[in-house]
Amino acid sequence: MSELKPIKGKIFTLPFFILLILSAIALVFIIKRFMYGLGAVSNLSDGYPWGMWIVYDVVTGTAIACGGYAMAILVYVFNKGQYHPLVRSALLASMFGYTLASVSIFFDVGRYWQMYNIFLPWYSNTNSVMFEVAACIATYILIMWLEFSPAFFEKPGSEKTLKKINSVMFIFIALGVLLPTMHQSSLGSLMIIAGDKLSGLWQTGFLPLLFLISAIMMGFGMVIFESLFSSVTLKRPLETPLLAKLSGVIPKLLIAFLIIRFGDLIFKGKLGLLFNFNLQSLMFIIENLLFIYPLIILSSQEKRNQSKCLFLSAASLVLAGSVYRFDTFLIGFSPGVNWHYFPSFAEIMITIGIISVEIMAYLIFIKTLPVLPDVKHA
């Protein structure tokens, strides 16, 4: 992996400082939350116990962070070695996405001081979908740091450590594919128990399967998006041919997803809910148009080779998966007529702060560690 190198450049740039300020604002609100309770900063209520933090930071954030998972499937399971240069940067983004999601859980959970109870055998409830999600995500974060660890040792003097790590790496990689398969599907299963509180447009026993497929698609979408975006912003050559080939996987997954989604709605006779002309039906339409756009574009070989088409399709796909998650957890969720939820300013600022920390950490890592392909070879 000699072709990966730290990229040159100062860490403390103007965008970096802006990110720093945003995370400082978030910190103030987080302190307020710990002093006065969840109600002091959020619009959460007994009807809407989960809001922006769970739905964006955890449910959507970890799906956006599925790049590492998607690339590992492709490179190690389907043995497509040519995509290897994209693996480490994808893994790094995933690592931060998940790590920060777990930080968000810490301040969302009401009784955080005994959060470890989930993992104490006499308290663990193996019937709980939440238990499965928590256990898998916690383990996966550890595994990702182990998978990424060679980056810290790829320097003179650490050859022995590096060799040791690499000899057992296949175990970490295998777990790195197994664990997201388990918890990305279970994130969907979480909402099955909500029953009719979730609109028939989203409530289905197929939630685990649909969440899994869409997480993998979002992973590929994110790899393409990140690669093109960092090429432009960090003034590096575009990796379009490689990405074009990679994007060929997406239409197949999209077709499977849409068939199951609509097949299920038709069989259950729930598609009529689409004509209620309310926020839910509008969001359902937006969500599916965002899924169909990349299907149309990426089915064409010619368009796949244009970086602009690739970029837009990838962005649309990631957005589609995100809207699907927001719909399933918030828009489609209605506990009763008297309940309303829209995230408060503080809730939004805390989420923005979390994202800022994530981007800052990513920038520091790619500038100090061998993550991105060296320009000469790329």
């Binding site: 992996m1 710990f34 002093m35 309770g37 969840l38 109600g39 002091a40 959460l44 007994d46 009807g47 116990p49 989960w50 190690y76 399971v77 043995n79 070695g81 959970v109 009401g110 009784r111 005994q114 959060m115 109870n117 989930i118 308290y123 663990s124 409830n125 019937n127 709980s128 979908v129 939440m130 238990f131 790496m169 296949f170 990689i173 295998a174 197994l178 388990m182 599907s185 299963s189 979480l190 909402m191 099955i192 128990i193 909500a194 029953g195 509180k197 026993g205 197929f206 685990p208 060929g248 197949k252 077709i255 068939i259 989604r261 609509f262 097949g263 299920d264 038709i266 069989f267 070989q301």
Partner: protein, 318 residues
């Protein structure tokens, strides 16, 4: 990796076959009421909305007064209790028990036979007593994730959003006085017998008896419990011929009788199984004995080992 027509058809048919499988095929078996189970029968036709049950609840559970966070607080926004009297108005709201009228509903934990909250809780903070069937909360276990609130079809568990060290608050059917041989505060102090406590099998029988009574006849309604020590005569209203809670969501130990449709009391229409049975069925099918994950892991480890080895050799060759 172009999508050709054959690929498309393959994916299409695989997807269609998957979607055609009914999604409750994995649901696990329903749970049964324990023979020792206790319960409360709430007869909405007898409720006069006096809220004595709320005050009794406060005293029995030593609750400090604090406005509740309920969706239906216009009738009584200030009393904080584990059971709340809600008012439901229809039309001009002049007469009780009429279509164009108002109705009271005593909202409290339904103590489901197969509770979603117990299934959802990752830290076993919510448990169902194997004998009495009472669903209670353990402060030492709870992590405050509020998944119970997402899971409960009746919106019962309340969370202290305004507290730095919050707790989940819910009715535990005064089990702390039941062990001393007393009955829950709400039933003990209900002056009309709208809420009566008893063994589940007895209150179910009582509910069905009442449905069979002739309209406008006089009935000696038991007060407090079903022992007959206390009672109050009242004319029988025209009941809806249904016991809410006998089947709802897999059954509840809090049964409800009413003279108006149950949706007028804010009660949801639920299937005769608990959603927990569906979720647990899916999870246990996928994770039975961890066989599927272990097999998948073995396959993945084997494949990645081969791929990684091949990669290392080609690296050395460069």
């Amino acid at each position: 990796m172009k999508v050709d027509r054959r690929d498309f058809l393959k994916v299409l048919s695989a997807g269609a076959v998957t979607a055609a499988v009914p999604d409750n095929v994995f649901a696990r078996a329903k749970k049964n009421v324990s023979p020792e189970a206790v319960g409360i029968l709430y007869d909405a036709t007898l409720c006069i909305g006096c809220k004595t049950c709320e005050i009794a609840c406060q005293n029995y559970n030593k609750l400090t007064s604090q406005p509740s966070d309920s969706s239906n607080t216009d009738f009584d926004p200030y009393t904080f209790a584990l059971n709340k009297i809600e008012i439901y108005r229809n039309g001009d709201g002049t007469n009780k028990e009429s279509k164009n009228g108002y109705n009271f509903f005593k909202k409290a934990c339904m103590h489901c036979v197969d509770p979603n909250c117990v299934s959802a809780c990752p830290a076993s903070a919510l448990t169902k007593d194997t004998e009495t069937g009472i669903v209670s909360w353990d402060s030492d276990a709870c992590i405050g994730c509020r998944y119970c609130q997402v899971a409960c079809p009746f919106l019962i568990p309340k969370f202290e959003y305004g507290a730095a060290f919050p707790e989940i608050i819910k009715c535990e059917m005064c089990q702390h006085v039941q062990v001393k041989g007393k009955i829950p505060g709400c039933c003990d102090f209900c002056p009309t017998g709208a809420a009566v406590f008893g063994k589940f099998s007895d209150i179910l029988k009582e509910a069905k008896n009442r449905l069979a009574l002739p309209e406008e006849s006089n009935y000696k309604y038991p007060v407090g419990d079903l022992s007959g020590k206390r009672s109050k005569d009242n004319p029988v209203k025209k009941y809806i011929n249904y016991v809410y809670g006998e089947k709802e969501g897999g059954g509840t130990q809090y049964l409800i009788l009413s003279a108006v449709p149950f949706e007028n009391l804010g009660l949801p229409k639920l299937p005769d199984y608990s959603n927990a049975s569906k979720t647990e069925g899916i999870q246990h099918t996928l994770y039975k004995g961890m066989i599927a994950p272990i097999v998948l892991f073995a396959g993945l480890a084997f494949t990645t080992y081969k791929t990684a080895k091949a990669d290392n050799q080609s690296d050395k060759g460069e």
